[in-house]
């Protein structure tokens, strides 16, 4: 069965009907104006009445009816102007008000009565009170919702400039009673409130007009008409004599009574928001209790949270008025009241409502402790509601509630600080200061949601970087760091790590762990700890390790290196202090190296020998630079560990080669003074090098190790032995291209040593060059090799070394 509404034909019909009506309005208004020009008032009224008769139609949609209404109103203004002119010229039209009441149909009659009544009220202020009352009462005759709404809107619009806006006290002085009849603010309020009540009634009743199947369309149309009703409230808000007292005692109760009683969602939601928008903040402040109390009584279909949020946001943005101290408490208790009275309210809405309360707290409570206390209390009540509603189920990140809760939880941490600081360490500090924050995070959310908060805290810290302004109060205590890492970062530091897939870890997991490792550096940056508070830094580092270690091999692989680097950096700083500044500096350094050693060993469980090897070498280099008595032993120990990792755990060809080069480099760099320590490494390196699988790598590694046998003054025979071995290996190569390349590389390497005259070395070079030349006849050199070779030759030439035999 097709349910497509036949929109086009009916739209066409609408347009045709509207055009017809507009045409009649045009004709009748033309006649009306002609008659007015000739002073034939009675005739003119007759045409006016005919024109208004078009508004009796029930064939038009609200939208078309509105268009027609506007056209008629335009024309009625002419009538009004004419009558005003006549009055002002002194013409007495005392019976005009009576005369127009002869119109047989009620719609034209009342439009004319309003038009004429307005003229009286403008020219004879003493008639205002009676006429206002009369008009608003007589309009009861139109019970048809659409026609009644527009009629009463005409009444309201017509009277907008003549509504009495003085108080009894203001006019009491004269005492002749005349002014009383020109009306007081009381009359205006009564007038608008009655008109409002009647319009709201018609508006609500409109839903029952017509067939049930059109209900949706009708509700849409009804929504389009909301301004007609809302204008009453706007009018009230424009009356200056309505002070807080009148608003509180007369106006608001009058409005709320209708809003609550109408039990219609569309009307209630719109009117409550309208109230918030049109009246000033001071009024709202004085009437929070009744307003919020009414909110609790609205029908379930009303989205009360929108109303509450609108109100709270409005007050949160208010300027120039003093908010009472207990405002937060009022909001807080009324929100609880609303939640209690509306058991069907969905959790998302509750959360977003509480969120607006936090927003208010942030913007409007200046005293820090009070603000945090208030936020905490919002968090607590939110936590309670969630617990009650979820019945132990955790809120899933990937649900609407989850998203709302995430937004909610981010509020206090991203905006909760006083000087507008919403990044850096401040959010973390705030998350720790708020007592309930972590409960909310841990008790009712799933891990994923919790993780989102953790990530956002970490990101906000890291994004602002270490250039951030240093605020010492914001620095975390050790205890806070521990709580933060162990509890708030729990989703990152604990739990089962994801399985590797084809030897690859989940990308997100890796990103998270890298973030954590960056955060460790952040924790030790000046933002978080004074540059010279080395002892504290050490405490931080070791705390981190304690907390991170249980996270397992897959996690520490990303986080421990950071600890190692920070430790080594710390050791350097201690050593720079020296014993004058810190008597125990050497002991502390030693302790750090022990810590480093343990950390790398632990890391080695993570199946990352390459990292461990590098870290050991780093530690060795570091230790060698610290002026400890034991520094060479320490370095030796670290290098030994690196070598043993090399021997036992590094298998991959490329990795073995680069690791070996690193080891050789480190040994060279450390430059052991004690030959006892140095010699074993030096002799071990060429051996290890020659065990490499690929010959070119053997050659290159042996070449590197040759440097271990040289220093500024000597070239030991072992070095020359190494070079010879390299030439030999190269010669054994089958591939001529590669062979030639290696020759050139060896020759280039030797140039490093030519600062000392060494005949044997010179011979070597000459032989090598001969081989190169020989080989060059057979192989065409690549451009880069050619360059390297030429550079070598040029260099030798500059040293006055000739390779000619």
């Amino acid at each position: 069965m097709s349910t497509t509404p036949a929109t086009t034909p009916s739209d066409d019909k609408q347009e045709k009907r509207l055009d017809e009506s507009l045409g009649n309005v045009k004709i009748q208004s033309f006649h009306m104006k002609c008659c007015l020009d000739r002073g034939k008032l009675m005739e003119a009224l007759k045409h006016a009445s005919n024109m208004i008769t078009e508004l009796r139609t029930n064939q038009l949609s609200p939208k078309s009816y509105y268009e027609l209404y506007m056209a008629v109103c335009d024309q009625l203004r002419h009538m009004e102007m004419y009558l005003l002119d006549e009055f002002n010229r002194g013409r007495k039209l005392a019976d005009l008000y009576e005369l127009v009441q002869y119109a047989g149909n009620i719609i034209p009659r009342l439009y004319l009565l309003i038009t004429v009544g307005l003229v009286y009220m403008k020219t004879t202020p003493g008639s205002r009170r009676d006429i206002l009352k009369d008009l608003v009462e007589m309009c009861r005759g139109v019970q048809h919702p659409l026609r009644g709404l527009f009629l009463r809107n005409y009444l309201l619009q017509s009277c907008r400039n003549i509504l009495p806006d003085v108080t009894v006290e203001e006019i009491a002085g004269d005492g002749d009673g005349k002014e009383e009849h020109s009306g007081t603010i009381e009359d205006s309020i009564e007038f608008i409130l009655l008109n409002f009540a009647e319009m709201n009634k018609l508006w609500v009743r409109m839903q029952h007009q017509g067939h049930t199947r059109d209900k949706d369309r009708r509700e849409k149309e009804r929504l389009e008409l909301r301004l007609l009703v809302g204008t009453n409230l706007v009018r009230l808000s424009q009356l200056e004599s309505i002070d807080i007292e009148r608003y509180k005692n007369v106006v608001l109760p009058g409005i709320l009574e209708q809003v609550v009683s109408c039990r219609d969602g569309i009307a209630q939601e719109y009117l409550m928001e309208c109230l918030i928008q049109v009246f000033p903040d001071e009024f709202h402040l004085t009437t929070l209790q009744p307003f919020l109390h009414s909110c609790a009584k609205l029908v379930p279909s009303v989205n009360v949270k929108n109303i509450i949020i609108a109100l709270i946001d409005r007050l949160a943005l208010s300027k120039d008025i003093d908010l009472p101290d207990d405002l937060f408490d009022i909001f807080s208790s009324q929100i609880s009241n609303i939640i209690q009275s509306r058991p069907d309210m969905i959790l998302e809405d509750i959360i977003s409502m509480e969120g607006s309360l936090i927003n208010f707290t942030i913007k409007k409570i200046n005293a820090e402790s009070k603000r945090e206390e208030s936020i905490d209390s919002v968090l607590q009540s939110t936590l309670n509601v969630i617990k009650e509603k979820c019945n132990k189920a955790r809120i899933q990140y990937r649900t609407n509630i989850g998203k709302e809760l995430l937004k909610f939880l981010k509020l206090p941490i991203t905006h909760g600080t006083q000087d507008g600081q919403t990044s850096g360490i401040a959010p973390i500090k705030m998350s720790l200061k708020l007592k309930v924050f972590k409960n909310l995070l841990k008790d009712v959310t799933d891990l994923e949601l919790q993780k989102q908060i953790t990530l956002s805290l970490l990101n906000s810290a890291l994004d602002s970087g270490i250039e951030d302004k240093i605020i010492e109060e914001n620095r975390l205590t050790l205890e806070e760091i521990e709580i933060f890492l162990s509890e708030l970062c729990e989703p990152l530091v604990k739990g089962a790590a994801p399985e590797e897939l084809d030897g690859m870890l989940d990308e997100d997991f890796v990103d998270e762990q890298l973030l954590l490792s960056r955060f460790i550096h952040y924790l030790l940056s000046p933002i978080c700890v004074a540059e010279d508070d080395l002892d504290f830094k050490y405490l931080i580092i070791s705390s981190c390790k304690k907390i991170l270690a249980p996270g397992g091999a897959k996690r520490v692989r990303f986080t421990f290196p950071a600890l190692v680097f920070e430790s080594l950096d710390l050791a350097l700083k201690y050593s720079k202090r020296g014993s004058e500044e810190d008597a125990k500096w050497d002991k502390k350094c030693t302790k750090i190296y022990q810590f480093v050693n343990q950390t790398i060993s632990a890391l080695n469980e993570s199946n990352c020998p390459d990292i461990c090897l590098r870290l050991y070498l780093q530690a060795a280099l570091n230790a060698s630079k610290v002026g400890l008595k034991t520094c060479e032993t320490l370095a030796d120990e670290f290098v030994t560990k690196a070598v043993s990792i090399y021997e036992e755990e590094i298998c991959e060809t490329k990795e073995r080669f680069s690791s070996l080069i690193l080891i050789i480099g480190a040994i060279k760099e450390i430059d052991f003074k004690s030959a006892e320590l140095k010699q074993p490494f030096a002799s071990q390196m060429p051996l290890l090098a020659s065990k490499l699988i690929q010959k070119p790598n053997q050659v290159r590694a042996i070449l590197s190790s040759s440097l271990l046998f040289c220093d500024d003054s000597t070239i030991s025979p072992e070095a020359i032995k190494c070079i010879k071995k390299c030439v030999k290996i190269a010669s054994s190569m089958m591939d001529n291209d590669l062979k030639l390349q290696l020759y050139i590389e060896i020759l280039a390497h030797i140039t490093l040593l030519v600062s000392q005259e060494n005949q044997e070395l010179l011979e070597q070079m000459k032989d090598l060059n001969e081989k190169i030349l020989e080989q060059k006849n057979e192989v065409i050199l690549s451009e880069s090799l050619e360059k390297q070779y030429n550079a070598t030759l040029n260099f030798l030439q500059s040293q006055n070394i000739s390779l000619d035999k």
């Binding site: 009620i106 009462e137 139109v142 026609r147």
Partner: protein, 314 residues
């Protein structure tokens, strides 16, 4: 009128005393047009002059007497030609003889009783007129002049409002109230209609003033209903508890005082008919009689109060 006077040898003019200050009133003529005549009240003296102008000056006009009559009569259209005179006064102006020149006669009907209101209805007419007759052998020369009589009433001593609850069981209950039961012709009907139960789909509500004219008696009674005013007072459907105001000015409609059993010939009564119309154009109504009366206007009040005084003096 013209052809009568043409053949005869004289024109008759009736000039009423104080005509320049006397008010005129309108009344419908038989053919539906409006005629304007001088207005008199009960007990007022009707006096004036009769001027007879000879068509051919110098020629004499013989007659069997000249008289002037004051007549009040009821004419039932169904009974053509049969005029019931309820009032007939005669004054002789001249004995039989000859008129040799234009002559003028004064006449006076002192404090004439005019018990009924002039009326032109659908089936009946009540009229007052002055008739001057020059009686002649072959055909009389006659001149008639209508006057209008309005009967004034004083404020009714009892004038309770009309209040009533009516309805269709289980479907529609309303309560209506009209502020009075007796209204003068320039009065305003103020009322309200209160809805107690609305289970039908009302489209609108109107109030009508219905004039019921009944003529004749017994078997030969003719009833004629005429809707004098139709006045919409509500658009759309109300719900329970709604009160709809009613304010209807009477001055603009052609109304007469309620006339009951005038000279046993006819009655004119008025009813307010409250009609509710539903979406299927079904009409639900309730009729309620109201009494209409004519109130003396301010300027006339003096005359009204003078008249009884002077008659008392007599």
């Amino acid at each position: 009128m013209s052809f009568l006077t043409f053949r005869s040898g004289a024109d008759i003019d009736i000039i009423l005393d104080g005509a320049e200050n006397r008010k005129l009133a309108e009344i419908k003529s038989e053919d539906g047009k409006k005629d304007r005549y001088y207005l008199y009240y009960d007990g007022e003296t009707v006096s004036g002059k009769v001027n007879i102008t000879l068509k051919k000056p110098g020629t004499k006009l013989d007659h069997l007497g000249i008289k002037v009559e004051f007549i009040g009569e009821i004419e039932l259209y169904a009974d053509r030609g049969n005029h019931h005179e309820f009032s007939s006064l005669v004054k002789d102006l001249a004995r039989p003889g000859d008129l040799i020149q234009n002559t003028s006669y004064s006449f006076e009907f002192v404090n004439v009783e005019k018990p009924y209101e002039s009326y032109t209805g659908t089936n009946v007419r009540l009229r007052y007129f002055i008739r001057v007759t020059i009686v002649r052998r072959l055909s009389d020369i006659i001149k008639e002049m209508d006057i209008i009589v309005h009967t004034l009433a004083s404020y009714p001593e009892v004038n309770s409002p009309i209040k009533m609850e009516v309805g269709i069981e289980e479907c529609l209950h309303i309560e209506f109230e009209y502020n009075k039961s007796k209204y003068h012709l320039k009065d305003v009907i103020v009322g309200k209609i209160y809805f107690l139960l609305v289970r039908i789909k009302i489209k609108h509500m109107e109030i009508a003033i219905i004039k019921k004219e009944s003529t004749g008696i017994g078997q030969n009674t003719f009833n004629e209903n005429e809707t004098i005013a139709k006045y919409e007072i509500m658009d759309g459907a109300p719900v329970r508890g709604e009160s709809i105001p009613l304010r209807l000015f009477l001055a603009g409609y052609e109304l007469t005082p309620t006339m009951k059993d005038i000279n046993k010939k006819f009655s004119v009564r008025y009813f307010l008919n409250l009609v509710l119309v539903d979406e299927e154009e079904r009409r639900y109504f309730k009729q309620q009689e109201i009494i209409l009366w004519r109130k003396g206007e301010k300027t006339r009040k003096q005359i009204q109060s003078q008249a009884p005084q002077s008659s008392e003096v007599k």
